[in-house]
């Protein structure tokens, strides 16, 4: 049994976000972090590893500097990592991305007892699509928004969080689960981990590694293989300077509430 976790390196949008004049993100000026939900997936995997002694392998697709993130994951306790990187993969939307990652997981080997874990969504795109789409491409069941995971043999019992409560779902391995932050609190690296992670296995899967996989062809990967395209990107209207509302009576209260509802603030 092993656990395969998909992770993404993302710009840290919690601080100041820099936008270039053409409306695209100035990634160079921003710090990168491990996508927060993905850390919950890593923690879920490591918790299972602590209990069951299984192997944990992390997969990421991104440019070569993503190696730093993979070293960090190994310093936390991940056993092996896979960096999927190629110019041909650049510009992929969620559909194309999931094809490529599914091909990488399949190439690495997905067995009966295995579990694939992913974060619910990445903070750069917030789409929550790649996890379910990988599951579809791998032909395995998925459970999203996992708030609790229990494992008994090949059966997993998962608390799937809904807006108005939760569902308890049973599913058998192999399957894919997307994790939310309520699931756990991610651990830190260990000191020993930071000493050893640079000598641990990091596999590179480039275009040549994956090009013969059935899921990979020019029409399904990269910018050209992506069904969706960005038509325009722009910044929302600038938040104006503060505004003092006239009066303090009923009309003022109504005016404020209508401003807030018009802007979808409440």
């Amino acid at each position: 049994m092993k656990i395969l976790v998909t992770v993404k390196q993302v710009p840290d949008t919690s601080g100041k976000v820099a936008v270039k004049e053409d409306g695209t993100l100035d990634r160079a000026s921003m710090q990168t972090i491990i996508n927060p939900d993905d850390l919950n997936a890593i923690e879920a995997a490591l918790t299972l590893k602590d209990r069951l002694g299984c192997k944990v392998v992390a997969f990421t697709m991104g440019p070569p500097p993503a190696e730093g993130m993979l070293r960090e994951l190994m310093a936390m306790g991940v056993d092996e990592t896979v960096l999927i990187t190629a110019r041909e993969f650049g510009g992929s939307d969620t559909y194309a991305t999931s094809q490529i990652i599914a091909a990488a997981i399949d190439t690495y080997g997905l067995e009966e007892e295995d579990i694939v874990l992913a974060g619910r969504q990445a903070i750069d795109g917030d789409t929550a699509q790649v996890g379910p789409q990988i599951a579809e491409k791998l032909h395995i069941p998925q459970v999203t928004y996992a708030g609790d995971i229990e494992k008994d043999g090949r059966t997993l019992t998962i608390k799937r969080i809904l807006e108005d409560g939760y569902m308890t779902i049973k599913v058998k391995t192999p399957c894919l689960i997307t994790c939310i932050k309520e699931l756990n609190t991610p651990r830190y690296m260990t000191v020993l981990g930071t000493e050893e992670c640079f000598d641990m296995p990091l596999h590179i899967m480039d275009y040549n590694t994956l090009k013969d996989h059935p899921l990979i062809d020019a029409t399904t990967i990269g910018l050209k293989g992506s069904p969706t395209n960005i038509y325009k990107s722009f910044t929302p209207p600038q938040k104006g300077a503060g505004m003092m509302l006239e009066g303090s009576g009923k009309e003022t209260a109504k005016q404020l509430v209508s401003i807030l509802t018009d802007k979808h603030i409440i």
Partner: protein
């Protein structure tokens, strides 16, 4: 003939996935039908809902009242509770048979589970969590005029790659709302989107339209083996407990509640309840023993960044500002128009919180009621 999502000429009509839970239609469905009506009109096609469940004919016609021309209803005990595999299979089979050109889902936890799986199976594009949809180009340009910081008049909206007048333009926030992107899906059909709940306006209910909606019961195949997950139980949660750090809405009280401490806190609680938020406070209230320390926002309390921070009777000392100035929107109510809190507030009301807050609560309730109706 085999289904081919790239044969875009073969696709017609707008579809909306009608989400129901425990036999009750989700409110988002009505918002989506209303929005779908607009898109169908822009394209000059029909609007059709697709409703899955067990014995859900009773709620099918409702969507007609919001503008649907027809509704496809698939009843099966296997569809009683939502399962990814069961719903994906039936929806994809229906899409392959009827070929809608646009397919919308609510961006609920279920919609966001189901839509990507369907898109991957159908080999088409999906845009997540949209806040604005257009087919009509003029409508889109008008939207950008007020909804963006772009100078639209000097812009070129043409594209060599696709027809900008007939493709669905799906706009969504990215990077935590710092950036907006308009996405198109020009080469495959259906163009799919999940739409953020609460954003689209619900139409007025039309009784005649509800009565005349065409209900379709197509044949479909679904076997127990198709479903690989088992729903053991569904639990409705009691009211969620939220702490200051994770709260989207915080209503904080300051020294301004001194004349009636209990009343002031009660008002703040009521306002917070209306917004689904929590009550915070300045240090002064904690020091005075009016409220417990876990409510305290500021340098010596918690640092918060909610969507909306409402400061009631808080002057805005530097210690307090340090803990809340990164809130997305700050609203201040204070008797003193020179209070420093107004320097960082997006909206300020100069007045007595004991008078202003009840009016705010009323206005919010009214606005909610208007939305419900």
């Amino acid at each position: 003939m085999a289904f081919n999502s790239a044969d875009i000429a073969a696709f017609k009509n707008v579809w909306v996935f009608c989400e129901q839970r425990q036999g009750k239609m989700m409110n988002t469905t009505f918002e989506l039908i209303s929005e779908g009506r607009k898109l169908a009109d822009e394209l000059g096609v029909d609007l059709c809902g697709i409703l899955l469940g067990d014995d859900v004919d009773g709620i099918a016609k409702e969507i007609g009242g919001y503008g649907a021309d027809s509704v496809i209803v698939c009843n099966s005990p296997l569809l009683k509770n939502y399962t990814t595999e069961g719903y994906t299979k039936v929806i994809c089979d229906m899409v392959e048979e009827y070929k809608p050109e646009i397919l919308l889902f609510g961006a609920s936890n279920i919609g966001r589970d189901l839509a990507p799986r369907c898109a991957a199976r159908l080999h088409t594009g999906l845009c997540a969590d949209c806040t604005h949809l257009d087919v009509d180009l003029d409508g889109y340009v008008n939207f950008l005029r007020t909804g963006s910081s772009l100078d639209v008049d000097g812009m070129n909206f043409d594209s060599k790659l696709f027809d900008v007048k007939t493709n669905l333009k799906m706009t969504r926030p990215a990077f935590g709302g710092h950036l907006m992107a308009t996405i198109v899906c020009p080469r495959f059909r259906p163009a799919m989107a999940t739409v953020r709940p609460g954003v689209m306006m619900k139409r007025e209910f039309d009784n005649a339209k509800a009565a005349s909606i065409k209900v379709i019961h197509p044949e479909f195949k679904l076997a127990p083996e198709d479903i690989e997950t088992e729903v053991v139980e569904i639990v409705k949660a009691a009211k969620k407990m939220v702490d200051l750090i994770g709260a989207d809405y915080i209503v904080s009280v300051g020294r301004g509640i001194a004349k009636d401490v209990e009343g002031g806190i009660k008002l703040a609680e009521e306002l917070a309840d209306e917004l689904g938020g929590v009550v915070g406070s300045s240090r002064a209230c904690v020091d005075a023993g009016w409220i417990s320390a876990d409510h305290q926002v500021g340098q010596t309390g918690k640092t918060v960044h909610p969507k909306v921070y409402i400061a009631l009777g808080i002057s805005g000392a530097i210690q307090h500002k340090a803990g809340m100035q990164d809130s997305e929107y700050i609203i201040a109510v204070n008797k003193n128009d020179a209070a420093p809190i107004f320097e960082i507030a997006d909206y300020g009301i100069c007045g007595d919180l004991f008078k202003v807050v009840p009016l705010l609560i009323d206005a919010i309730r009214e606005s909610k009621a208007a939305k419900e109706a």
